[in-house]
Structures are given as C-alpha cells and as structure tokens.
Amino acid sequence: MGLDSFQYKSLIQFDWIWVIVAAPLLGAVVNGLLVLFGARLKRSFAEILYTTVGCGAAFLSFLAAWFTFQHFRTLPEGSVLTQELFNWIESGLFHVNMNFELDALSMSMVVFITFVSSLIHLYSAGYMKDDPGFGRYFSYLNLFLFSMLVLIMAQNLLVLFLGWEGVGFCSYLLIGFWFEDMAKANAGKKAIIVNRIGDAGFLAGLLILFALAGTFNFNELQLGKHAFTELSATVICLCFFFGAAGKSAQIPLYVWLPDAMAGPTPVSALIHAATMVTAGVYLVARLNFLFVLAPWASMTVAVIGVLTALFAATLALAQNDIKKVLAYSTISQLGFMFLGAGVSAYGAGLFHLITHGFFKACLFLSAGSVIHVLKGEQDIRKMGGLLKHIPLTSISFFLGWAAITGVLPFCGGFFSKDEILWRALATPNPVVPFLPEVLYFTALFTAFLTAFYMTRLFVTVFFGEYRGDREIFEHLHDSPLVMTIPMLLLGIGSLISGWLSVPEAIGGGNSLGKFVDPIFHLSTLEATNVSSKLEPILMLLSLLVAALGVLAAWYVYGWKHTISPWLLKLIPGGKKAVEEKYYVDELYDVMVVRAVKGFAHWVSDRLVEQILINRFLELTTQGVYGVAKLLKKTQVGMVRAYLAYVVAGAALLIYLILH
C-alpha cells in the first residue's frame, strides 16, 4: 500500500448538485402543505396536483442526477464532484459543513436510486389511487427520497447521519401509513426503535472516531487514517456495523423488516428492498478505508452477512404471505451484500446492491400488482393459476424471479451473486485460514435455498389452480398501465443490470467494477486463495446449484401440487420452528423489552425514586416535625420555667466566658 490514497482524488466544484436533493424536498413540502391546509380542494383536482408534484419531483431529481452523471463521466478517473452549501455546526475544534460530494460510488447509487424511485413514484400513482391519504403518501415518499439522497451524497458522517435518521423516520411514517390500524402503527414503531438501537452503535462510532481523528469528513478521515490503530479501527468499525445491521436488517437487528411489510407495497419495494435497507451496505463500503485496517471487523461483517443470508433464507421457505417471503428474501440478499463487503469485495457488494435493487423492486411491485388485482389478498395459499389472467404482471414477476434465482446465466443477479461467491472463496482470510471455504459453501447452499423458495413462490402464485375467492376471480384483469409499465421497466432493468459488470474471467468488461475501482482499490485484498482459472468452473457450479433448487421446487410445488413447506418437513421440528420465526421476537421481548422495563420499574422507580428520594424527603419532613414537637414542649407558659431557662442560659454563658 505504498500509494498515497489521496493522490488520484481531485475535488471539482459543481454547483448543481443541490437540485438533486432540493426537488424531492420541495415536493414533500408542497404536498405536505397541500394536505394540511388544502382540505377544500376538489378531490379529483387535488389528486392530479399531488401526482404531478410527487412524481414530478422524483423525475426532476432523476434528470438532475442523470445530467450530473453525464458530466461526471467526462472527468478523469477518480474525480469527485463537490458542492458546499453552508456551515452547519462550528464550535471550537468541532467543524461540520453541510456539503455534498459525488464520487463514483455515490454517483452510481444516486443514479440508481433516483431511477428506481421515479418508477415507483409512478407506480404508486396507480396503486394508491383510491386511498384517502393519497397526498400524504406522496409527501412522505418525496421526503424519503430527499433523506436517502442526503445520506448517499453526504460529504461527512454527520450529514450522512442526518439522512440516516431521516430515512428511518420516513420509513416509520410509511410503515404506519394506515395508522388507524394499530398493528400497522406498531410495526412502524418497532422499526424506528430497533433502528435507534442500531443507531446507538452509529453514535458511539461517531464519538470514538471524532475523538481520534477530529473530523467527520470522509476525505480527511481517509487522509488521516494513520490516527487509527488496528484496535481502535476495529472498535469503530464494529460500532458502525451495528448501526448498519439495524438499518439493513442483519442479525441481530433484522426483526423489524418482516413487520415493515405492513406498509403499502410500493413502499416495501422502494424503502424496504431497493434503497433504504441498503444504506448499511453503503456505509460499510463508504468506510472501506477503515475496514481494511480492521480484519476482525471485516470478518465479523462477512460472517454476520452469510449467517443472516442463510437464516433468512430458511425463514423464507415457510412464509405464506407473498410479501413476507420477499421480505425474508431481502434480508437474505442483504446478507450476500455484507458478505461481499466483508471480504473486501466492495465493488461486488455494490453490484449486487444495484441488481438486487432492480429485481427486488420488480418482484415487490409485481407482488403489489397481484395483491391489487386480488383486492388485498396476500396469502399465497389463496392464489394460484394467475399466469393467464394477469400476463403482464406474470412476465415482470418472471423476470424478477429469473434474476434472483440466477438460473438464467446472463441476467440480473447471476453475475453479481456469483462475483460475491467467487470473492468470498478467493479472498484469503488473515485471521481464520479456512473461513473462505466455509463462507463459500454456506453462501452456495443459501443460493440453493433462494432458488427453491423463489420458485415455490412463483409456482404457487402463477401456476396450478386458483384457490381463492371465486368472485374476485371472475372479475380478474391486469393492473392499469401506470403500474405495469414501471414494473416491466424494472423487469427489463433486472434483466440487463447484470451486464453492468460482467466478470473478466468470462471475457466481460467489468465496467461497474472499474468505475468504482478508484474508491476501493486500496482496500481490496487480492484474490489469491484459489487459482483464478477456477472462476468459470465455479460459475458453472453455482448455475447448477440454482437449477437444482428450481427443479426441486418445481417437482414439489409444480408437479406434486403441494403448497406446504415440504423441505422443512424433512427436519424434525423444523416447520414449527420456522413458522414461529425461531422464537426470536419472543426472545427479544424477554431480553430487551421486559429487561429494560423491569430495570426501569425496580431500580429507577422503586429503588431510586420511591425509596431513596421520596423516603428521604419523608424522613426529612418527619425530622422537622419531630424537632418542632420537642421545641413546642419548652413553651409551657409558666413564668418560673422561663426564669429557669434564663438562669440556666446565663450560667452556661458565664461558664463559656470564664472557661
């Protein structure tokens, strides 16, 4: 690492970056004010207004991002676009600016996010059409987009934290969007509290980092990384990873994401699949220069990632709610991304983040379309045979399915997942030598499970006989174009996003990898564990495994027409355990909720408040009364008694003076 990490970075002023974030913010404010104060507007007119403002803001943001990207591409490699807005907090040595920066990493994220989110805004216009909270919805969605973009474009960790908390808050609002249903409102509450627990790690990381480096600015941190020892870097990285685990739903803080499906489906697609939940991966990638100093922390990231991937995949096997399957699948795929980041394959992690964003958004939107046409039905046991009746939705779901299972070798998730698998095996681990093999085979098995449960979902929803309400079935027709077009575009996106970065081993260009390489190349460990000639062979192997998963699921669900989670019956007790989600919610209820409440009740309330403070006060008042009572007795009202006091007093005085 003799190269100075900074020599190839040049900051270039670009004064139009603010448009990217200002458009959605303005949209949110305008729609918010319209909702609060525009109650007298005619409903049909207001709806047009909300849609125009909401979608317009998202599209404007995408356009601004696209033009910025075009400008960015003309610049030499390693350039960074920057814009200074204002001085946020300045106090002594504490100096933080509200600045935005776009390098290759944030640039690719921004283009991807604004694109996906524009499509989902459009889709929402159809999906939420008859909802009384239509305007409120668009206001929240725009606010989310704003926060997410602030998070990505932040020049320093504190601005990133602004976006980080902002997206968490918007997610709270949108999960509990139908707040009259207390269960949904509580799901939002759970999300924001679990995220806050993770944020404790983030905040601790901020404090330690600032104490050591004296800055939150990414460039300065990277320059001053010699301020960190291996130990301090490990502590900081683990703190930030805890925060990332909260936002990106990793073990042990994944519990909020399945519940978050209470929100409207486009929200699940945008926030809880494509964008917000990937913020943790982005954070780890952004701090790559720290993680490279801390092999133990990186290893933790990889291990937690692969464990979460496996764990969530097993849970996805038994879900009967179409959105829950996708939710667990998201957790599992996020685990893959963390695996990539943990083995220093940040580029591969980012690649998977983008392909996953496309195919999972596509899957969620298709699922939303299914729910929409079935009038709110989410149980896959009451679906089936929908293929012929809603062809466009089926096509887009098929595209998403093909991308996530990786069974069609040249589309979507295949390359990105395979890149991660390859790097997990090929990157030597300095701490535990046999870890790469363990990671690889666990991930490979998870890929098998992924193919299996996704095929189960696909088959039970679209093939076989319809098992639900006949009345709905008779009036079945596909969703309106405003929904199907974004879906199909995302489907095509998930098909071709794999071509962003075809590995060089099979003659590809690896263009995304090369695009972001200036940011990561100092932090990337060389893949020396196994010979690179193995890569095409391993690629075939994972193709085979995926095909096996698909065929197995096809055999069980397509051929035998079962709908129960057959695979889990092979393991005694497995079905029950998975259906109860391994009792994790119950465990946390005892370990966290009741523990805190119990502590608050017994220690804070009973011991401190009632015994130490109130009892002390009571004793004081009683003491005062007691003394008063004693003194009262001296006031007997008899002259000789008072005379006696005078004599005694005088005697005492004389004694004191003479002594």
Partner: protein
C-alpha cells in the same frame, strides 16, 4: 436602558392586564406587552458585539450606597440567548394558553408576565445582590402559577417546588454573603477577579451549586420536578421547563465555575456521573409513565442531565453544546408542553389511554406534535440534535464511559416518545368520555366525537416554536458564534489548566507513537 426596558415592560403589561376588568382586553394586553418585549429584545442581538466577551448594554445606578449594592445590569454571551429565549417563548405561551385558563384569567397572565420580568432581571443582573433578589422574586409568580391554576394535586406540587427551591437558595444566600464579605463588594466583576482559597472554594461551590442543582435539576435533586411539572397548568409548565430550569444551568456557568474553578474541577467527575445518571434515570422513568405530561416531565429531566454533562466537560465544544441545548430544549419543551395542554383542554385527561386516533381527527395538531417529538428525540436537523452531538463528542473526549452510557438516553428517547405518540395519535378514535357521560346525544352517536384541530391562536403560537426548532437544528452557528468569546474569557480561561480526566485521543496517539518507535528500533536491529 434596553435591559431595564425589558424588565419593566412585562411588569407594566402585568399591571395593565390585572387592572382591566374585561378578560379579553387583559389577554390582548398581555400578549401585546410580551410581543413588544420580544420586539425590543431583538435589538440585543443586533447590537451585540460577538468579539467582546465582557458585559454589554451596561447600566449602573446606586441602590444602597452604604453596602455598595448597585442596580447594575449587563449582558454577555452567556446570558444573551437565555434572555432572547425568554422573550421569545413568553408571547407564544400567552397566545397558546388563551383557551386553557378557566378562572382568574387576568391574574394568570399577570403572573406569566411577572415571571418573565424576574427571569430577565436574574439573567441581566451583574450585581450579585440584585441577582439574588430577582432569583427569589421568580419564585412568587411561579408559586401562584402552580398553586392557583394547577391540577388536582397542585398543593403538593407547589409545596415540593417551593420548599426544594427555598432550601437551595438559603444555602446559596449564606455562601453569597460570605464571599461578598470577603471581597467587600456585591459587584460580579470584582468577585470574578478575586481568587478564593481552596477550602473556601470547596464549601462555597457546594452551597451555590446545591441551589443550582435543585433548579436544573440534577439527579438526585429532582424530587420536585415530576409533581410540579405535572400539576402546573400548561403555560406554567412551559415557563418552568423551558425557562426557569435553565437558570440553574446558567447559575452554574455564571457563578459556580468561574468563581470557584478549583472546586469545580474537583467536583466535575462526580457531577458528570450524576448528570449521566440523570439522563438514564429520566429516560427510564419516562418509559414507565402512562401519563404523557409526566412522561414529558421525565424526558425533560433526562435532557437537562445532558446539558449539565456538557457544561462539566469544561471544553469549549461542551459548553457551547450545553448552551445551545438549553435554547433548543427551551424551544421544543415549550412546544411539547403547550401541546399536552392543548390535548388536555380537549379531553380533560393526561392519560395516554384516554386518547387514540387523534391524528385522524386533528391532523395539524398531530403534525405539530410530531415535529416537537422529532426535536426531542434528537433527529439531526432539529433542535435536539445540535446540542446533543456537541455535548456527547466533547464528553467522550474528556471521559469516554459516561458519554457512552448517555447514548442510552438517545435510544430510550425514541422508545418512550414514539410509544407515546403511537398511543395518543394512532389507532381508532375513542369516545370523548366526559361528553359521553354528560349528554344523551353522544351516547346515541356511534361515531365518537372527533377532537377539534388547532384553533388559530394555538396554530399561531406553535408555528414560531416549530420554525425555531428547525432553525436551531440547521443553523447552529447563528447561536454558537456570539457565545464563543464570553465562554472562552469567563469560563475556559478561569479553568486553566483544564482537568485531565482521561484524554482518550492523546492516549491513543501516545500508544501509536510507542508502536511506531518500537517498529523503528526493530528495523534498526
């Protein structure tokens, strides 16, 4: 003359409000007086010279020449924002509580204005005798506010509040007389220049600090807080939580630390521990409450702990964080307590379970409440965060462990605030219990009667507070810049050399250097 004007205007308003027989005119006069005071106080900001750390806008008039007691006023970077906070909050409290007070309306507004006047007097006094007079004067309107217009247990609340405060103030009076006797002057600047021997510092620090700790309140001197906050009428609670308690922290900064720096340094670790204990204890107690006003009271306690923590880091960042947090806390606590008052006015209950579904019935109220909840929960970009991050970073640098423990307050605040918000504002609406009992018509109606949304005066009262919460969150420099010079001159300078508890960064660097040198020697071998 501007400071005297700011002290006098509210008194004039109070007298006028008390004299006019019509309540509506009295209200209008009170509002007018407080608004005029606020308008005049703005000249303090425009006329303030940030480069000057000494007292500005000084006034001097001999009061009791024999004891050299003077009516002397002045303002510096320490008191500037607190005076502005007071003049800023009062009009909105008056406006917001227009519909809340049922009896002796004129007296209520007169008390609010007298309180404002005495607070400004306390902050502006540069004569320590005058300070003490104003300090005690504050107690009288506060006493009436809780005792006359309070809730069902108001007598208990008042008694606790007054006794606690008096106990502290008396000890302070003793110490105050002692130090002024030593210096032979009541002039603050003379006291400031004098350096006391260590044992005197020890006892005087304790005596002064106790009064201020009770006011803040620092854990475990908060026995008065839950009852006083809960029982006081909304307007009174706002004055208590947003303004009065800040004077405790102000006293620490103005008197305890600069006059007795050695003792302050000795006590700092203990106080930091107590401050963090308060942060965690207040937050834990808040999670237990079913009464949202009481919950807000405990959350206020938790946040005040953070302010004390910041002050006793003795670093510029921590001090500035503490001061800016005082302003921010004042703004969002004013908002929260006004809103709890508005809810109470609609349903006569502070129990969370009595509500539900308010967001549907009263979207503006819900939005305003959420805004304040976000500020209190320390969302970046809102008032709560700016102070919090400054305090925590500097506290961590001085002593890591308490700062890390204080993060629990950050986590728990989301817990109790969003829990409360969900219970009150989400879900299905519940029947208005009072009306259901009283009117037969309500019984027949299946749909519960929805709560009314914000009225014009409530909305107008909340709007400036909401904007201020955002302003503090996004433009912290506006607030930080004028206080810097004063803090450096009057606090930091006095504390030199600063106490080294555990300079983590320095320690790390030392370790690093050792490793580097080891490597070099190995290479050399």
């Amino acid at each position: 003359m501007i400071l005297s004007l700011l002290i006098g205007l509210p008194v004039l308003g109070a007298v006028l409000a008390a004299l006019f027989p019509q309540e509506r005119i009295a209200k209008a006069l009170a509002l007018l007086a407080s608004l005029t005071t606020f308008a005049f106080s703005l000249t303090l900001y425009t006329g303030f010279d940030p480069a000057n750390g000494g007292f500005q806008f000084q006034e001097l008039m001999p009061l009791v020449p024999r004891f050299s007691i003077n009516y002397s006023l002045g303002l510096d970077g320490l008191s500037l924002w607190l005076v502005l906070l007071t003049t800023f909050i009062t009009p909105w409290v008056i406006l917001g509580s227009f519909g809340m007070i049922g009896k002796n309306v004129r007296g209520f507004y007169a008390c609010l204005l007298l309180l404002e006047s005495s607070v400004i007097g306390t902050l502006a006094s540069t004569d320590i005798f005058l300070f003490y007079v104003f300090w005690e004067l504050m107690l009288i309107p506060a006493f009436f506010l809780i005792g006359v217009w309070g809730g069902p247990n108001r007598v208990k609340g008042t008694l606790k509040f007054v006794l606690f405060t008096m106990a502290g103030s008396l000890l302070m009076l003793v110490a105050l007389l002692y130090v002024t006797h030593e210096v032979k002057s009541f002039d603050y600047t003379k006291l400031f220049d004098h350096s006391f021997p260590e044992d005197v510092q020890f006892w005087c620090f304790l005596a002064f600090a106790l009064a201020f700790f009770i006011k803040v309140p620092l854990f475990p001197f908060h026995g008065w807080l839950p009852d006083a906050y809960t029982e006081a009428p909304a307007g009174g609670t706002v004055m208590l939580s947003a303004i009065l308690v800040k004077l405790g922290a102000y006293g620490l900064l103005r008197f305890c630390i600069p006059l007795f720096p050695e003792a302050a340094k000795d006590f700092a670790p203990w106080i930091m521990v107590l401050a963090v204990a308060g942060v965690v204890h207040g937050a834990l107690m808040a999670t237990l409450q079913t009464d949202f006003k009481r919950m807000t009271a405990y959350s206020s306690l938790s946040h005040m702990g953070l302010i004390t923590l910041g002050i006793f880091t003795f670093s510029l960042t921590g001090l500035e964080g503490g001061l800016v947090q005082m302003v921010g806390h004042g703004v969002y606590m004013a908002g929260l307590f006004l809103l709890t008052g508005m809810l109470f006015q609609r349903r006569e209950s502070h129990e969370m379970d009595a509500y539900g579904g308010v967001a549907k019935a009263a979207p503006l109220l819900a939005a305003a409440f959420l805004w304040m909840v976000l500020s209190a929960a320390g969302l970046p970009g809102f008032a709560g965060f700016t102070g919090e991050i400054l305090i925590l970073t500097s506290a961590y640098k001085t002593w890591p462990l308490p700062a890390l423990v204080a993060i629990a307050g950050f986590v728990l605040s989301a817990w109790y605030l969003f829990n409360m918000y969900g219970k009150v504002f989400f879900g299905k609406g519940k029947a208005n219990s009072e009306e259901a009992k009283n009117s037969k018509k309500a019984k027949k109606e299946e749909e519960p009667k929805p709560l009314a949304d914000l009225s014009w005066n409530e909305g107008l009262a909340l709007l400036p507070l909401a904007l201020a919460a955002l302003w503090i969150g996004l433009n912290a420099n506006f607030f930080l810049a004028p206080m810097e010079k004063t803090l450096e001159m009057k606090v930091i300078e006095k504390l030199k050399p600063p106490p080294v508890m555990m300079d983590f960064a320095a320690q790390q660097r030392r370790l690093q250097d050792e490793i580097e040198s080891n490597k070099k020697t190995k290479k050399a071998h």
